[in-house]
């Protein structure tokens, strides 16, 4: 190896880079917020701004959701600020990328809490990141509101600082819709799900609940998270299966659906999918004609008119989503409509809690007030703060419950065919956070 000799000047320069990076890393944040990390909305007025930490998947496999998460959060914060802010204080979002990685998620929590000294943190989506990050929030004793859908918050396995007030969880979703599936599509079910956390929630629900519903799970096909081609697994689908139940996440999703179509052709079992399989993907994409006539669970109907209220229309407009669920600026940029509303609603829950609890600044006393107030909520009314629909909140398990939708693909669009009531989705709580010390 014959690198040229390094002159002293070059070594000093390099040392300078390293030390400079170190100093930049160690120095306190400048008092005036700057840089692209902070999303600033409206000039501050009336009291110091509220700094809300926003843990988001800007990179990694969750990046599609992350992108829409940021748009939704920005739109919500702007709207809230326009209407006077929270308790008269303007909202500033402080974003932090966690790379959709559990270890980095914990570091993001630390950064937001210790360095940026935010008032509270919200936003995490992927289950494994939530599970990796929540303990840190619990140790740092800062409220941590996730938008994740996983059953982990409601299961009681997180800590008392952890809430999920803006989106419903998988167990509730399945409790609400499983009887519709069995009664309308068939009793012999094959489950195709991703071989990790979120997928297990689906598997475990059916494992416990199938017999009660009069259904049988004929086959389980857990697919590794990074799989890109699925045809080889389809031979495991029993020939006499009535319902093919699929929930897939990740970049392999369009392939999955396409290959399913090629494999079965026109003689196929009934299909029931979760819209997760198609979030961010255009229904009119090549190869998806196979989905015509099949059904999907949606949390919030992607196509305008599926849930037509003035609140939904305002919400859709403020975020910048067109009638087909894609960005108004780029019709090819399809949104994650059934999930991102959780971000919007969570910010409004934060607003309501802050105003009702008298929260002023980070600290044990104010946090206790915040948490106890939030735990006492029993409902969130439908409105601009909750465009997806009214919510029931169960303080014991820190989880919100809401209505669910089932849609059918009709002419390359999704049309709602069934809407469940909140009560259909309730299950008895398995834990009680309110008994835990803070």
């Amino acid at each position: 190896m014959s690198a040229k000799r390094i002159s002293r000047r070059e070594a000093l320069k390099a040392a300078g880079i390293v030390v400079g990076a170190g100093i930049a890393g160690l120095s306190p944040r400048p008092p005036v917020p700057s840089g692209l990390r902070q999303l600033v909305y409206a000039a501050p007025s009336g009291g110091t701004p509220l700094r809300i930490g926003f843990q988001v998947h800007r990179t990694g496999i969750g990046a599609v959701y992350g992108r829409w998460w940021e748009r939704t959060a920005a739109a919500a914060a702007t709207y809230i600020n326009e209407k006077g802010g929270m308790a008269g204080r303007q909202v500033r979002l402080v974003g932090e990328d966690d790379g959709t990685d559990p270890a980095r998620g914990a570091i993001a929590v630390e950064k937001l809490a210790s360095e940026d000294k935010v008032d509270l943190i919200f936003g995490t989506l992927f289950s494994n990141v939530v599970i990796g990050s929540a303990p840190r929030a619990g140790e740092l004793k800062i409220p941590y509101l996730v938008v994740s859908e996983g059953y982990h918050v409601a299961s009681g396995k997180m800590n008392r600082y952890c809430f999920q007030p803006g989106i419903t969880d998988v167990r509730a979703q399945l409790t609400a819709i499983s009887s519709w599936i069995v009664n309308n599509l068939g009793r012999k079910i094959t489950l195709i799900y991703p071989d990790y956390a979120f997928g297990y929630d689906h598997r475990d629900f059916w494992a416990k609940g199938a017999t009660r519903l009069g259904a049988t799970v004929q086959a389980l096909i857990p697919i590794p998270p990074t799989e890109t081609s699925f045809t080889k697994y389809f031979s495991r689908i029993p020939a006499d299966t009535e319902v093919l139940y699929h929930v897939m996440v990740g970049p392999g999703v369009p392939t999955f659906v396409k290959e399913l179509g090629e494999y079965f052709g026109s003689k196929r079992p009934q299909l029931f999918g979760f819209i997760d399989s198609l979030e961010g993907v255009d229904l009119a994409s090549p190869g998806l004609d196979f989905l015509e006539g099949t059904h999907f669970w949606e949390a919030f109907p992607r196509y305008a008119g599926g849930y037509n209220t003035s609140f939904e229309r305002t919400y859709r407009e403020r975020i910048g989503v067109n009638a087909s669920g894609a960005s108004v600026r780029d019709p090819k940029d399809v949104s994650t409509y059934s999930h991102m509303f959780g971000v919007w609603e969570t910010l409004f829950v934060i607003k309501q809690t802050i105003e009702q609890s008298g929260y002023k600044r980070p600290g044990p006393k104010d946090y206790r007030a915040f948490i106890e107030t939030l735990e006492r909520f029993q409902t969130f009314s439908e409105g601009i703060g909750h465009p997806q629909g009214p919510k029931k909140f169960v303080g014991k398990i820190h989880q919100a419950f809401g209505q669910q939708f089932i849609s059918r693909v009709d002419g390359k669009k999704l049309k709602v065919v069934h809407k469940t009531k909140i009560e259909d989705s309730l299950y008895s709580p398995e834990a009680d956070y309110t008994k835990q010390p803070l």
Binding site: A11, A14, G95, I131, P135, A197
Partner: protein
């Protein structure tokens, strides 16, 4: 020549340890925890470097040893409620056992074959943590908080979630691994390893059982990786399959090469520089990976032997 510099060598390494001891008093809380992580991960890189820099074997599968330590410590903590010291021992034992098996299989190969084979066995390990997800809880992982009983140090009872305790546990781990590394590379064993790196056939012809030495290097390297893995699980309070994935095999490789393979201090420097580069860059832009990539390329073009390697070449050839 080494004898003359023995005090200088010890001095440099002790200076680093003492600096790290002192830093905990002055740095703000976020950096406090970040440094704790860096120290544990640097210990991992030190273990990795024993194989790469000193024995000349590049593995792309060390994540399996790191994760074996994590699960080896984490599973008993979570399910059986053992204490932390026992958990560390179990973690080290797990990775030792694994490395003996893997080493026996893979050390028949060398060079790029070794690279690929270790990568594949690590992949098998990762997929197994996913396959047995009813126990390991797979990708989603499990939380150790609440399962860590306090440790009694004489009259003192310390909880492991205390930041000071955490930092010093990380520091102790790092110091121990640094010490082992420093001792090993200067010992006769270390010199045989270097001889194997330089020319294995010749070393064999001199009468050394190179397979045994390579296996020894691999097991020590894996034990250190497992130890750092179990400590990492305890200080972050989280165990998950993502630590067994290929990314955690690539990290120690980058950290070591950046800092300087074949130097004792290199792994620490590499880990610290990379971590702080990422943290600093992400402060200014959401496209920070570009900055990180550019800096990585620039640093390696300027210091092909690594940062410490270049320093050593120019100013301190006696540095191990």
């Amino acid at each position: 020549m080494r004898r003359d510099h023995r005090s200088a060598i010890l001095g440099v390494h002790w200076a680093l340890i003492l600096a790290l001891v002192g830093l905990q008093v002055v740095v703000p809380p976020f950096h406090h925890t970040l440094l704790a992580r860096i120290m544990v991960l640097a210990a991992y890189a030190i273990g990795y470097n024993l194989l790469l820099g000193y024995t000349g074997l590049m593995s792309l599968g060390h994540a399996m040893f790191f994760a074996a330590g994590m699960y080896g410590a984490g599973l008993p903590l979570f399910y059986l409620g053992v204490g932390a010291p026992q958990a560390f021992l179990l973690g080290i034992a797990a990775s030792l056992l694994l490395s003996v098996v893997i080493g026996t299989l893979t050390l028949r190969t060398s060079g790029v074959s070794f690279l690929i084979v270790t990568m594949m066995f690590a992949q098998v390990f990762y997929l197994s943590t996913l396959y047995f997800n009813r126990i390991t809880l797979g990708d989603q992982g499990f939380v150790l908080a609440g399962h860590l009983p306090p440790i009694s140090l004489g009259a003192l009872r310390v909880t492991l979630s205390d930041p000071v305790m955490r930092y010093n546990l990380a520091l102790a781990t790092f110091a121990v691994c640094l010490g082992i590394s420093l001792w090993l590379v200067q010992s006769p064993i270390g010199r045989v390893l270097v001889a194997i790196r330089e020319n294995e056939d010749r070393t064999q012809m001199l009468g050394y059982n190179t397979f045994a030495y390579k296996l020894l290097a691999l097991t020590i390297s894996a034990a250190i990786a497992g130890f750092s893995g179990s400590v990492y699980a305890v200080i972050t309070s989280y165990v998950g399959a993502s630590f067994a994935a290929i990314l955690y095999s690539i990290y120690p490789l980058v950290w070591t090469l950046l800092g300087g393979s074949g130097t004792v201090l290199g792994p620490f420097v590499g880990t610290a520089v990379m971590t702080y580069t990422i943290e600093t860059a992400s402060r200014f832009t959401s496209s920070y990976l570009i900055v990180v990539g550019v800096i990585l390329v620039a640093l390696v073009m300027r210091f092909p032997a690594g940062i410490v390697g270049a320093f050593r070449r120019r100013w301190a050839p006696w540095l191990p």
